[in-house]
Symmetry: C2
Amino acid sequence: MNAPTHPIEQLQIALPDLDWVTDTNRIARLSQDFSWFSPVLKRQLTGKTADCAVRPRNEDEIKRLVSLCARLRVPITIRGTGTGNYGQSVPLQGGVVLDMSGFNQFLWARNGAGRAQAGMRLSEFEKEARNEIGMELRCMPSTYRSATLGGLFGGGFGGVGSINYGPLGARGNVLGVKAITIEEEPKIVELRGPEALMMHHMWGTNGLVLELELALAPAVPWQEHLVVFDSFDDALEFGNAVALAPGIVKREVAFFAAPVPDYLKQLAEHLRPGCHAVLLAIAPESEPAMLELSAQWRGWVSYSKSAEEIARTNRTLLEYTWNHTTLVAFKTDKTITYLQSAFIAGQHLEQVRRMEKLLAPEVQMHCEFIRNMDGLVTCTALQIVKFTTEERLQEIMQIHRDNGVRINDPHVFVVEDGKAGGLLPPASHQIKRRFDPLNLLNPGKVRAWTDGVPD
Amino acid sequence: MNAPTHPIEQLQIALPDLDWVTDTNRIARLSQDFSWFSPVLKRQLTGKTADCAVRPRNEDEIKRLVSLCARLRVPITIRGTGTGNYGQSVPLQGGVVLDMSGFNQFLWARNGAGRAQAGMRLSEFEKEARNEIGMELRCMPSTYRSATLGGLFGGGFGGVGSINYGPLGARGNVLGVKAITIEEEPKIVELRGPEALMMHHMWGTNGLVLELELALAPAVPWQEHLVVFDSFDDALEFGNAVALAPGIVKREVAFFAAPVPDYLKQLAEHLRPGCHAVLLAIAPESEPAMLELSAQWRGWVSYSKSAEEIARTNRTLLEYTWNHTTLVAFKTDKTITYLQSAFIAGQHLEQVRRMEKLLAPEVQMHCEFIRNMDGLVTCTALQIVKFTTEERLQEIMQIHRDNGVRINDPHVFVVEDGKAGGLLPPASHQIKRRFDPLNLLNPGKVRAWTDGVPD
């Protein structure tokens, strides 16, 4: 009689036809994401790795895998391409990393919606949707080129396009998901509308999403601009005016206060040192109206590219927005980190000015204009922070809170401590009870489940 | 030597190849519009007719006509198909009515914009834009089937679609116009952007528009719904929720308080007597989210038609919205009239409730949700009024003003007294000085010019 094998070995022996990753370097890489943006998470998550990784190719492989993981009580950490920032791809208690990026078939597009397997890259999904029905994603992160549908749903907010459609979680953007329960006899279930959203932004901890169905937007041949300003206020007001103008069709409005544009080395020829800048993606018919506003706010349009030029060169300003701005800044300065904050619609300009006054240049303003969940135009910010100590970082976040600015803390790895802001709603626990009753999905990420099943 | 002929005869003798209308009944009809919605305008404008009418077919005919009118000092009243409500097609001092509806060629559609001659019907324009580049009008009145581009620009506000793009006058919706000066040697001039807008909603008094270039919207296969409610507040809140929801794509959100739905006899089978109702045009992918909100506000969806059914039957709910609601109500009750009012964004629900409380059932609430010029969601209203006396009508409007509700008085025929709300800006007079220096465009409509050229 042989010595009892480790559960991971048992998995690999029982399911030899799966695409296992056994190289330890690759396993280590597949156990990471972009949580290194946070020095706090970097410290806390260093060395956390899976015991193995697997790349399922179809539903049957996923079903057999989760069934056996449930029987053997092996933790599962779901990941797409690892562009997340909250450590959602980092397994806290080892086990198996489920790399979904090979589960990536486009299923259909019709009636204003599209559906695909969770591991499909957003850029590929959009290409298919454009080809099939002339539509595009309603909102997407700046990482759309590599990020997956499932990753956006599991850990994302929205991004480019949220100026029109609000966050991904706004009613009507996600139509449905198909998910599988982590049980010895896994069940495959379709969740629609609000029920599907119970799995949104839970970092893959309360269900394994197999397919996503998203409402789409009419495809527009977006053109891109940089508008440069001498004055912080002029740039901010211009961005806000473009964001609000109902007759200006846009997909992206970002405001970079000095010195943020100085980090964007690849765009240096279009950005005077020390300038403030607004980055835009707008419809071609909206260019004259944008130019009127730019003149009104003393802006100078330093960069303009048509959709055709963007497609030909495969070079887009969208990859300088949202957390790509932070990523690019890291190339110049390894000591930075960032914040995530949400301003109150209607008071947002005033709040942005106040925080700039209180905290510049230690905190460098980068705003993204969006419609919020309630449909009101406001801005959110991904400020760059000159990092000194974790204490000072906490202090900076507290100063924001004290001034009525909401902080969605990106320096925590427990779901409750992030955007959820404390406790998860009972409905979220109900979904986890239904889809992950054994708490095998990256245990440790949901505090309420760490010491057993919550009531 | 012959007796000197009347200027009108001289016109007709000098330009015999033009399509003159000489039948007095037809001239009388071409001297009218829908200003009979107002008992005040009906009284004031009765009997005002042109001396003749003409239907130009090309620019050369228009040029020769206005040149001679300028030489002979013959007043010109421009009209489209006469769907306006402010008497803009009623000549106050006789002269010639210029029926532009035969000057109706589509010119082009590209880069998110379309251009046509001013007399083209909106429905025809939209058909061409859809065929050529898959786009549609950003906003249009409920009379789009018969109304012309030039009429919308000259006397319209926006309408269906303004929930997305705001009023037609919002920056970026009108890209340019080509206009002709009313002079012995007429000049043809292209005006772009804000300069073009100086001729907007001036009822054809400060320039003769030949061509219009409009920014367009991606065409959507809109579906239509009626949602019925027991409670005024539930219906109003539902309409507002749909209007605001960033993930629900819509083109039209109208709220009819009881007893307004009772007027809509052709829809009676879908409208319980005494109900409140919300009329919607939404994108197909937004139906589930709309149904969620409808359930939340205790609504009952009584009517649903797909874009395909609407196209096949040629029957659309859009022809029950905006001032079509009023028109339909007239069929039941000849004694009504209406108001036009604008509520303050953010306070709009509260204002609507307050006015309902103060003035129902004498004033019957019909709201249209829109984005305003500043991009904020609010509603405007075209209330139905049980008319008694002109004094009471004035009183009702004053009660609105006293409660902070803006009245765009539809019971006046002088431009200054309508939406302009008092005085026209100097830039408007400059445009008139440039395009109609002799004040021949329906003289009497602009008070500032009635006693000579203003400073």
